[in-house]
């Protein structure tokens, strides 16, 4: 600061002080503050150099070293799978049994890029909460590559909906696979079992099925999983007891009757345990309080799968029994329709042919409405007239059983006149068969009665008929089916609904005759689907014989009306599984009789058809 500036500032300060009337500050004179600095500037600085050495160490050296930061890890060890039998040596090409490894890419690299294939990835089940459980499923290879002949050879490439079914079953603790008949429930189940065993998720599996289906399961296991050792429960009590508890048996197959008989005799603490229990034709446990259902539910297991093409035969409540077995509802629980629908979405997988097999050859249904022959007509009218008179005479003591007996009698006459042997149906059948045989075709005929089948056999000799019904010993049944398939001269297989309606694969037969009608079209559909199923190459022609102006026509009308009336239970596009059995009232109505019994709404059809039992 120069002197003038300082003076100016002092004057301003003084003036401010005067104005404010406060004490006057005396200005500081610059000469009083002289430091002698200005003269010093004029002097020449005195410089001097000295020598010194730099220090060897520094007081502060910033340093940084790249070090491994310890990281935490989350680990998952996947269980060792069951060691499979080594695959059999490949047969030389050209033999009929040579199997092709499915799903092998046609070209591994095309212009450097593998061809894109649709893949089915396993998804963690919704109820898998732990990270390890969820990762287990995510880390599995896509089914297509898992089954692409690397470890698990598939004889045929499955359809995409089958891959989905396999993936769904594999990741389900509780599952009801309810695909329509013919879509390959057996194959999907076997493949899912195979994967469970291979991935170490299961080591001991119990499969329960109706007795006549055991050879079918054995055959399917040989086809789809030939490396899997399968043991069938048979023999005397001691042997069976040993089989039930014998370790090291990956797959045990037993029928419902043996399951119920044997397991109720084994003490609680010796009951066998299974990683998976599969019930085939699971509608067998629809009666919750039956011994079969109670025994099945009591089996100790980690996973519960049920298979059926008809999850509801009569009432939606039947699903409750299956859900109880699957342990998704509490014991004795009775979910209402809304809850059933919710559970169905989560635990039921059902696909219909209409939905998944758009390219499958069609099933052509045709009703053959036939006039009775004169002898049949005469016998029929007499029987009907006398029958109705008798029913009326019974008055209030009439029961549905009385009516039912008359219905059966009339249906039998509609098949053939027992006195003369005349049969309009046989005449038509013979005419059709001549044409079928001439073209080398094969047909399956279904009847309610073994007696009718036995009656037909000698009359169809020229077509080399084969018989398959409850009267045929179990051991003889498989050779009969094999002969029907292989013998070009065997043109017709005569089957009963009870024995032949479920579980058999007869897709090489292009014609199905329903000689008489079953009480429930769902059962008829099951029968038809023996021929119209996966693998069928040509349309299947289904001929339903209906005698005009007879009880058959009236029953057909009632069933048709019911088919139209009942709501779809398992979603749109489902044309089966409605409550179609005839009730007592409807049976009475066939003769313009009113139900006089308080249980008029009870279903009175023959006992539910099962693969193990004959209807008549």
């Amino acid at each position: 600061m120069d002197a003038d500036g300082a003076e100016g500032n002092a004057a301003e300060l003084q003036a401010d002080s005067l104005e404010s009337g406060s004490e006057v500050l005396l200005p500081q004179r610059p000469e009083l503050l002289s430091t002698g600095f200005n003269p010093a500037l004029g002097r020449v600085p005195a410089l001097e150099t000295i020598s010194t050495t730099l220090g060897l160490t520094l007081d502060f050296v910033p340093s940084w070293t790249a070090r491994r930061i310890p990281l935490k890890c989350i680990g998952l060890t996947l269980p060792e799978g069951v060691e499979f039998l080594p695959p059999p040596p490949v047969k030389p090409e050209g033999t009929a049994e040579t199997k092709k490894a499915a799903a092998k890419p046609e070209a591994d690299v095309v212009d450097g890029e593998a061809p894109k294939k649709k893949v089915t990835r396993l998804k963690p089940p919704p109820d898998a909460l732990s990270l390890q459980d969820r990762l287990f499923y995510l880390l599995q290879p896509p089914l297509e590559s898992w089954l692409a002949g690397q470890e698990l050879i598939m004889p045929f490439e499955p359809f995409s909906y089958q891959y989905e079914g396999i993936a769904w079953l594999f990741s389900s603790q509780s599952a009801l696979l309810a695909d329509e008949m013919g879509l390959g429930k057996t194959m999907q189940t076997i493949t899912a079992i195979r994967l469970l065993l291979r991935s170490g998720q299961a080591r001991r599996i119990l499969l329960i099925c109706p007795k006549p289906l055991i050879p079918n399961w054995q055959r399917e296991f040989r086809t789809w999983a030939e490396e899997l050792p399968v043991v069938v429960m048979e023999g005397n009590g001691a042997r069976r007891r040993m089989l039930w508890t014998m370790p090291g048996v990956p797959i045990l197959i037993a029928n419902y009757e043996l399951m119920t008989r044997d397991l109720t005799e084994i003490p609680e603490d010796e009951q066998p345990k299974f990683d998976l229990l599969v019930l085939d034709e699971a509608q067998r446990i629809k009666n919750r309080e039956s011994n079969t259902a109670l025994t099945a539910r009591a089996i100790k297991r980690r996973r519960s799968w049920a298979l059926t093409g008809t999850p509801i035969e009569n009432r939606p409540e039947e699903l409750g029994a299956l859900f109880e077995f699957m342990e998704v509802i509490p014991k004795g629980g009775s979910p209402d329709l809304r809850q059933l629908s919710k559970l169905a979405k989560k635990y039921i997988l059902r696909r219909t042919k209409d939905l998944v097999m758009k390219d499958m050859p069609p099933r052509i249904d045709r009703d053959a409405e036939l006039e009775l022959t004169d002898a049949q007509e005469s016998a029929y009218r007499i029987a009907e007239k006398e029958g109705v008179i008798q029913l009326n005479d019974l008055g209030d003591s009439i029961t549905v059983q009385h009516v039912f007996e008359l219905v059966l009698r009339l249906k039998q006459i509609a098949n053939y006149d027992p006195l003369t042997g005349e049969s309009a149906k046989l005449e038509r059948l013979q005419a059709d068969m001549e044409e079928i045989a001439a073209s080398g075709g094969k047909a399956i005929l279904f009847s309610q009665w073994t007696k009718t089948i036995d009656w037909l056999e000698p009359r169809l000799k020229e077509f080399n008929p084969l018989i398959y019904h409850g009267g045929v010993p179990t051991k003889q049944r498989e050779p009969i089916l094999a002969k029907f398939k292989q013998d070009p001269k065997a043109h017709i297989l005569l089957m009963s609904y009870g024995t032949g309606a479920v579980g058999l694969n007869l897709q090489f037969a292009g014609y199905v005759f329903l000689f008489d009608r079953w009480w429930n079209p769902a059962i008829e559909d099951q029968a038809v689907n023996r021929a119209h199923r996966i693998g069928v190459k040509n349309p299947v022609i289904v001929t339903r014989f209906i005698s005009k102006n007879t009880i058959e026509e009236r029953i057909d009308r009632v069933l048709r009306e019911k088919r139209e009336l009942f709501e779809l239970v398992l979603g749109e596009g489902d044309n089966n599984n409605r409550s179609l059995s005839m009730s007592a009232s409807e049976i009475f109505g066939l003769f313009d009789l009113k139900a006089r019994h308080k249980d008029g709404a009870r279903s009175i059809g023959p006992k539910p058809v099962s693969a193990g039992g004959e209807a008549a």
Partner: protein, 176 residues
């Protein structure tokens, strides 16, 4: 090199990393047999470079973080040691400098030819693998075991499984 007890078995490692928003990277290593069946899986917790590391590593940050730090940790942690580690990320090739196990990038058609010489490549199954330039013996050693891999094997596919498993881990454990 291999932890396999049997000479006819080949254990493959599939390694991937993903970035978790704001938390850094996590890595996963899936060990399978030669047919792609999973045997073991390990994944790391998220790790993020600090500012000093970012400055000092510069362009080598990702190879260090993913290859050396995450990759080595995973490889040390697995009980079943693989004969080969496959990845889709070239940054993970750095792992090869810290292990005796060959490391290779499974190339897509788009990425083919991006770096590396032809003699560092090997067709294995349906995939072309590119190995580390500095480790000349890797291709030769794998050539001897090449027959164990089925021709139809897709070595890119298991990497997808690892990425899905990592995403699931993030959803289940870290995204809280």
């Amino acid at each position: 090199m291999s932890g396999s007890a049997k000479t006819d078995q080949l254990r493959l490692g599939f390694m991937e990393t993903i970035e978790v928003d704001g938390r850094g990277h996590i890595g996963g290593l899936l060990i399978t047999n030669q047919n792609g069946r999973p045997l073991e899986f390990q994944c790391t917790t998220p790790v993020r470079a600090n500012r000093t590391q970012e400055i000092l590593f510069g362009e080598t940050l990702k190879p260090w973080l993913l290859g050396e730090l995450i990759g080595s940790t995973l490889l040390e942690r697995v009980a079943i040691k693989p004969s080969l580690v496959v990845t889709s990320d070239p940054c993970l090739l750095e792992l090869r400098n810290h292990t005796q196990v060959p490391v290779a990038v499974a190339e897509t058609a788009a990425g083919k030819g991006a770096g590396g010489t032809e003699n560092r490549r090997l067709q294995l199954g349906g995939s072309v693998l590119r190995f580390h330039d500095a480790h000349h013996g890797d291709v030769d050693s794998l050539q001897k075991q090449k027959h164990l891999i089925p021709d139809s094997a897709d070595l890119q596919e298991p990497l997808e499984r690892v990425r899905e498993a990592l995403a699931e881990t993030v959803r289940t454990v870290f995204a809280r």
